[in-house]
């Protein structure tokens, strides 16, 4: 059944026991993104050292796909240089969009390949990509480039209905 392609055991593992869940103190990169079409949110915090990802953590809520993807991601990118991260993100995008994937050496990619089933469920690609989009944008902003995402902030969130 196609569903089993999507909901693989690897994802189950990460979903039930998410790695690197939480918020790093004094992070070098801190970014929150939302999936505008469904409301899923992720807060990503990273510590960088010598151009490499030293630590990564995520907080948020969402479906199996988005949570497992975030968990796997935070594991895979640790210790990698920014360019390496970008390359994996690129591979991951291809994988979940088209099912195609140039497998680099090394078994650490098994867990990434577990997301191959997503491409059969186009409405879920956004779920799989949320963490990675956040990551790429965070790195870009960290790299001194401008904000890509037009955050229109004209007030604080999380208020009570009838303040003031």
């Amino acid at each position: 059944m196609a569903l089993d392609e999507l909901y693989q055991e690897v994802l189950l593992d990460h979903y039930k026991q998410p790695r690197n869940k939480g918020v790093l103190a004094e992070p070098d990169i801190r970014l929150e993104l939302k999936n505008p079409f469904c409301g899923d949110e992720i807060l990503l915090t990273l510590k960088m050292a010598e151009g490499r990802v030293a630590e990564a953590a995520f907080e948020g809520h969402g479906c199996v796909i988005s949570q497992a993807s975030a968990s796997v991601m935070t594991e895979k990118i640790k210790g990698l240089r920014v360019e390496e991260v970008a390359a994996i993100a690129d591979q991951f995008t291809h994988l979940v969009r088209e099912g195609k994937y140039e497998r680099p050496e090394g078994e650490e990619f098994d867990e990434i390949e577990a997301f191959a089933g997503v491409c059969e469920f186009p409405t879920r690609v956004k779920c799989a990509m949320l963490a990675w989009r956040t990551l790429l944008q965070g790195l870009k902003e960290h790299g001194g480039r401008e904000h890509l995402h037009d955050h229109h902030a004209h007030g604080a969130e999380g208020e009570t209905p009838n303040r003031g």
């Binding site: 196609a2 909901y7 469904c38 409301g39 796909i65 007030g155 209905p161």
Partner: protein
Amino acid sequence: MIEVSKIRADFPLFAQPENRDLVYLDSAATTHRPRQVLEAIDEFYRRDNANPHRGAYRLAERATTAYESARSRVAAFIGAGRSEEVVFTRNATEAVNLVAWGWAERHVREGDEIIVTELEHHSNLVPWQMVAQRRGAKLRFLEFDQAGNLDPVQLEGLLSERSRLLAITQVSNALGTINPLRPFIDKAHAAGALVLVDGAQSVPHTAVDVRALDADFLVFSGHKMLGPLGIGVLYAKIEHLEAMEPFLFGGDMISSVGYHSSEWNDVPWKFEAGTQNVAGAVGLAAAMDYLDGIGMEAVAEHDRRLTRLAVEKLAPIDQLHLYGPMPERGPVVSFNLATIHPHDLATFLDQKGIAIRSGHHCAQVVMRKLGLAATARASFYLYNDEQDVERLVTGLLQAKDYFKKWL
């Protein structure tokens, strides 16, 4: 009573091979169209197409007649006194924005208050946030209770001489709450405030009479009531329309243009800038004919019956949480099943041919208030039947089984 099999035969989408097995439970997002509507659109393009109001030739006259007859049809459907009270927009969202820019921008002043309910769709909330911000006005929220109901008495506490507008939905797309509007409208009027009714989820499902309601503004969308995409309606009492400024400029909305200034056309045309979606208006009129052919009472009764059945069948499912008022509600059932995320649930059900909606339903304030990120939502219309409800129930039980180890 509605004979669903006969009705379904009118809807070509259900006859497509790829949709044969489809249980479509997302009519609150958009409906499908009967061939009568598709044919009306096609017929317009094939026979009467031209730019209305602009040509002195017969084809243009036919187009003008088609467009203005559609306006009268809409006026009759909602009980408006005159067709000039009907402005065609792109959708319900644009209709709310037209009131925000056209009316509120002129009539809401610093320190004034706009009351919205916590039940509102983003389309009837965000425009008022922006008005409040631009005008220095204050948003006040009419809160809903545990069951998802509003209380007219609470409204009294919010109303004051600073109240300019109450923005209230007739039926909530997230919880299904049916707001008995009259007491709310009367209280608002007594305080000197106008009332905008979001009819996006009510006009498709029940007879709405703007004069009986005494609504100042009513908005709705064609695509949620068997009509085409790209057409919506703002009804407004003529005196309010005449006190409004347009916010889209150019094309037919003017009566005279100079180098540095211009004069506007009469209402409602001054609000319809550029070439309008005539085929959309014609299709909407055809949808209203179709609905009236069945009878809005019959439609309402059918929707009520299915919704009651769905609530009855879903409520006993273990670990299934239903939200919103029971049992009377609009044809919308919001729920969560155990800790299965609604997306995962929707994907699972989709594999079984059942299309439900998952997410915040453009009602994040509702979600926030309920402490939820998302819900699953099934919504019904005249082409759904008991079997659809049965399939949903079966699907949910299977889903629970499938996701057992993920919980």
